[in-house]
């Protein structure tokens, strides 16, 4: 008995890998279809903030994630762009992460197709090019953004675009949202939100989500969308279910597996101790 348990405790980890593969792949092939209830408070706050903005307010979306965190953050970005454009807000898409440009193109290609076909580039939204050195860019965003963003990603001058009318710096914008898998949101809080008293919200990976509790409590962040659960919550709020919702559904079995594994190994340890 003791030997068997000890053996079980030292099971080939490739079997655990296989279990995870099966439990995560199966719901992709055949979704469980469980409802995503219990929406996160900080996600709802972000949604409500956007809902309360006057029409044609300018929303800055800083999409600072790369393919490594795409499954978590891309659904958040898509949901936010949908919400903002459908609410008739002006949207400026910025990026301070060189790896993000390809995914921004993906959003750019989707806007005229299925996100908001009636919206016009240059009038309702604009996409800025990547810029290095986030801190320098952020500081400049609060003074005069045209010193750095004088051209859009296609090289067209931004100053005269209708979408930029009356917008010189973040002080003229309604809200800023940074979606990132790095510390970019921390920088935004310090260099933009706090410094220029600019309302900011964030979209972050689940890994870094707990770290933003202090900023939410002080109001330095108006809202936060965390990981795939956050994306699913936002999709539920705008009533347009996509990858976030199907994703969180698929994670269900794998999450239960982790709990079962931790409990199993600890129970075995206890049994071995008193056997």
């Amino acid at each position: 008995m003791k030997n068997a348990l000890e053996k079980f405790l030292k099971i080939d980890r490739r079997l655990i890998f296989l279990a995870l593969t099966v439990l995560l792949f199966a719901p992709i092939v055949r979704p469980l279809g469980l409802p995503n209830k219990n929406l996160g408070k900080d996600v709802v706050n972000t949604y409500n903030y956007i809902e309360a903005l006057p029409e044609r307010s300018f929303v800055m979306l800083s999409l600072d994630y790369d393919p490594a965190t795409r499954p978590e953050l891309h659904p958040q970005a898509v949901a936010l762009v949908k919400h903002a454009l459908r609410r008739n807000l002006r949207v400026g898409i910025f990026t301070l992460n060189a790896g993000a440009t390809g995914m921004i193109e993906d959003i750019a290609a989707r806007i005229p197709k299925d996100i908001a076909p009636d919206k016009v580039y240059g009038r309702d939204y604009v996409i800025m090019p990547f810029q290095p050195n986030p801190v320098a860019v952020m500081t400049q965003l609060g003074i005069n953004l045209y010193e750095i963003y004088d051209k859009d990603r296609n090289g067209n001058p931004t100053r005269d675009m209708e979408v930029m009318k009356g917008v010189k710096s973040v002080k003229d914008m309604g809200l800023g949202i940074c979606i990132t898998g790095t510390a970019m949101l921390d920088y935004y809080v310090a260099y933009v939100a706090d410094k220029y008293k600019f309302p900011m919200a964030g979209g972050v990976t689940a890994v870094s989500q707990p770290g933003y509790g202090p900023y939410l409590q002080t109001g330095q962040l108006k809202g936060l969308i965390g990981g795939m659960k956050g994306a699913a919550d936002y999709e539920t709020l705008i009533n347009d279910l996509e990858k976030g919702t199907s994703g969180i559904d698929a994670l269900s079995l794998a999450h239960v597996l982790v709990i079962v594994l931790i409990l199993t190994s600890n129970i075995i340890m206890l049994v071995l101790k008193y056997l």
């Binding site: 405790l9 099971i11 980890r13 655990i16 890998f17 279990a19 995870l20 469980l32 469980l34 409802p35 209830k37 219990n38 996160g40 408070k41 393919p67 490594a68 965190t69 795409r70 499954p71 790896g99 440009t101 390809g102 193109e105 750019a108 290609a109 810029q131 290095p132 050195n133 801190v135 320098a136 860019v137 500081t139 400049q140 003074i143 005069n144 010193e147 750095i148 296609n154 689940a206 707990p210 770290g211 509790g213 202090p214 939410l216 409590q217 659960k229 969180i248 559904d249 994670l251 269900s252 794998a254 999450h255 239960v256 982790v258 709990i259 594994l261 931790i262 190994s265 600890n266 340890m269």
Partner: protein, 222 residues
């Protein structure tokens, strides 16, 4: 020579540091113009800092190939990967999309870069599970508290976990999300804030040491 090699760079650090610091507390047109110029300059300097990483990678793999070190053949693929992106980028003029059509750069991004980069990080999921089984031992009250918090979060984030909670503890009137919300907005804030202030103090002290030239390891050896 030491003046040019050491003193002037240290003076640049001090001068730029003090002026940048001062510009925050002295908000007038001159300081704003100064910081605007610095922002523009920094933006360009940082654009070149990337070359350091590029050259370092190329150099180390070139070294491996030239010495025919074990596995040197794989190093060739670093250059293949680089050219695989850069040639289409030049052909497509840096544009992943041309109107509604995908360019070769966009193709590389979607099928090569996204797959490689995404999978590299996704592999960690497997190790987290096997570590959870092999190393997560609840041997002390502290470890139990850690487990309890992790348990609530792992369970409560997914629909199946929420249903399980509702089935067993639904009668309490509390949903699992309420517990997670409380965890995230009260004890987690306390723990995180303590760490945050520690890092802040460390950061401020280091920054001051850099400005005053006490910390100069980043400059390399004399």
């Amino acid at each position: 020579m030491i003046f040019i090699k050491k003193h002037i760079p240290l003076f640049i650090c001090f001068f730029v540091g003090v002026l940048t610091l001062g510009s925050y507390y002295v908000p007038n047109a001159t300081s704003e113009n100064y910081i605007e110029m610095m922002n523009k300059w920094e933006n360009i300097v940082a654009g070149f800092a990337f070359l350091l990483g590029l050259m370092s990678l190329f150099y180390s793999h070139f070294h491996k190939i030239s010495r025919k070190a074990p596995g040197w053949g794989y190093s060739l693929f670093v250059y293949v990967g680089f050219l695989l992106v850069v040639i289409p980028a030049i052909v497509s003029n840096g544009q992943p999309m041309k109107g509604p059509d995908m360019t070769s750069l966009g193709w590389i991004y979607r099928f090569v870069f996204t797959s490689l980069s995404g999978t590299m990080f996704a592999v960690l999921a497997f190790y987290i599970v096997s570590t959870a089984y092999r190393a997560f031992r609840i041997k002390s009250p502290q470890a139990f508290v850690l487990f309890a918090a992790a348990f609530m979060v792992i369970l409560g984030r997914v629909p199946l976990g929420q249903m399980m909670w509702d089935g067993v503890l639904g009668w309490t009137g509390y949903q699992v999300t309420d517990v997670i919300e409380w965890l995230m907005s009260v004890p987690v804030v306390a723990g995180r804030r303590g760490i945050m202030i520690g890092i802040a103090i460390g950061g401020i002290v280091t920054a001051l040491k850099i400005i005053f030239g006490i910390e100069r390891q980043y400059m390399g050896k004399d």
